[in-house]
Symmetry: C2
Subunit: 366 residues, 2 copies
């Protein structure tokens, strides 16, 4: 039997609970489609950091590397300086494992309400493809004379051809398998150097995908077009920071962060890819059982797709979507169940859901 070895980083706050719930769905998909899942839990996150002073050590990286994929819950804890775990662990793994492509589907599932008028399952099915290792996330820069009137802060954004090309190539391939439209989102009227490199790469890769139409929209203008006319977009390719911001806007449009899934994808297969919900560790509701595991389950569906388990991926996506449609609210005491119970409901649904129910399976996922 095919066996996939998953590294599981539950992390902090609601992370472990939503991950456990998502894994119930993964196991159900394995049972239905005849593959096996083996998991190794990694003790990473705030506790480990507070104990060791290290967010992500070399041994952890090497141990994680031996797995087929990484499932991550969430990291972040009030006891740790904000940013330390996010940079050390999440951004650290994205870079260490060359996960240059971040995949963020923005899909309104039937039965879920968008807060934006006119957005419906018929016009809201797009994917944001975000470069995941470069731009301002390289973190280079300095602050001199901090705290004085002479302080100057410098942040450097670095954009290279290899990571940009991998991202754009992935985006075109995806668009070619979907509705054949790609939009580059940047702010090239101001970020002229980075913008030119992005546009050059898009124009070059486009020659290999003559079936895909492409256009360009500024990052600011996306805040108008994405909510008002999501049907205009199929695949949106963008840089790390714009992708960070716009995918949260996408999450709002699709019904909230409780629904937003992501894949940190290594397109060359040289190291495991990592799958995580877009939401954070939500320390305020940790341990209460109020967290909706849908985003974690949808991320796990992306994981199955990345592992080549297409049927299992579609069934898990469909199961999570159909449970979502039954929940009265996305989190909180009134959400109609607790995290583990909703995980069990998703797992039950995986065994008999018809994946075709949530739309054209040919263009779902990746």
């Amino acid at each position: 039997m095919r066996t996939h070895h998953l590294a599981v980083i539950g992390g902090d706050g609601i992370g472990p609970d939503v991950t456990a719930a998502a894994l119930a769905g993964v196991r159900a998909a394995a049972d239905r489609y005849g593959f096996a899942i083996e998991t190794t839990e990694f003790d990473l996150g705030a506790e480990a950091y507070l104990r060791s002073g290290v967010a992500l050590g070399e041994e952890s990286i090497e141990a994680l590397r031996g797995h087929d994929a990484v499932l991550l819950g969430a990291v972040g804890d009030p006891r740790v300086t904000p940013g330390v775990l996010e940079r050390g662990l999440i951004v650290g793994l994205r870079v260490a494992f060359a996960q240059s492509v971040n995949i963020r589907p923005v899909r309104l599932y039937p039965g879920v309400d968008s807060p934006v008028a006119g957005v419906s399952p018929d016009n809201c099915d797009l994917v944001i493809i975000r470069e995941n290792t470069e731009g301002l996330y390289t973190g280079g820069g300095s602050i001199s004379h901090a705290g004085t009137p002479n302080a100057v802060a410098i942040q450097n954004s670095i954009t290279t051809v290899p990571a940009t090309t991998e991202t754009v190539e992935f985006a075109f391939r995806l668009a070619s398998a979907r509705r054949k439209r790609l939009t580059l989102c940047h702010k090239k009227n101001i970020l002229v150097h980075a913008g030119q490199l992005w546009q050059d790469v898009v124009d070059e890769v486009a020659t290999r995908y003559p079936d895909v139409e492409h256009d360009y929209v500024h990052a600011d203008a996306m805040c108008l077009h994405l909510p008002m006319d999501p049907g205009r977009f199929d695949v949106v390719v963008t840089d790390n920071l714009f992708g960070d911001i716009l995918s949260d806007l996408g999450a709002t449009i699709q019904g909230g962060l409780g629904l937003a899934a992501s894949a940190n994808h290594n397109p060359r297969g040289t190291a495991p890819s990592m799958y995580e919900p877009v939401h954070g560790s939500a320390p305020d509701i940790a341990g209460k059982g109020w967290a909706n595991p849908a985003a974690a389950a949808l991320s796990a569906a992306l994981c199955l797709a990345g592992l080549g388990e297409r049927d299992g991926a579609l069934a898990l996506e469909a199961a999570a979507a159909s449970v979502l449609a039954e929940l009265p609210a996305l989190a909180g005491p009134g959400m109609g169940g607790d995290t583990a119970e909703i995980g069990r409901r998703i797992a039950d649904r995986v065994t008999d859901v018809d994946p075709a129910k949530i739309g054209d399976p040919e263009r779902s996922l990746m």
Copy 2:
């Protein structure tokens, strides 16, 4: 009689028409409140650039400098490389005139529908204060080996204490005159150097405004909080690029770019401030009379406020808001009038509107 000398840059596309319509409202306010307006038209924009090869020459800068304020329509034309006029003229003037504070009210006027569920005039009245001259807009950087696989693009973001402090100081003063809440928006978990400088400046200025509460929200999270809970915000202070993006999101929430006004404010009074609608030149509808001049009129209201004409400013804002509420759509052939006619309607309304009608005048505008 007090006389204000306005420099008028109609610019390109719909710019001249919406500016003319807005000026009708300004003149009506002058008549009602007993001041005089003198205008000098400046021939800047695409035509002038195509003729001279210069977007903004030294003589233009010096001539503009002699005025009390600048009203700008819009720039941008299909015949000019995108970005050239925007950087040369708009960003050029922001920097030349030390307009370090960009003021963008996000207000849903009664009678205008927000596309976002739950947003109402009662909970949508905030102001985004954007630093307007620095960050990635300094434009420093390079692209080496452009067009080759070795290309590397570098963009430098520069943040200094003087411009940041002017912006934050303005934001706190405004918050203190409004609902006494200030939110710093940045991405300090990733942009650690710039983020630290911003947070340091906010913490320092906060000591002088003990009446104002302040908190912090990441730029990505704002894409969730701003549409879902605008009532949580009073004054949002942020950097140049985040402000560019978030103020377009604000425009969406308040009913569209056709309603979004802005002031490019020189807080030291060392050069004129500049007032412009957030929308662009919309070349596709230029000359058709379909452009809604509301954003230009609301920007002109900010201009009157900046000139110390508080009553005139409030009357013009109220008049524009009340005409807006009557328009069936924001632009296009069905909008219920043409640009000039709507300008006349706003001007008529200025003469008898009750400014108190659009809410608490104490906390409107700046």
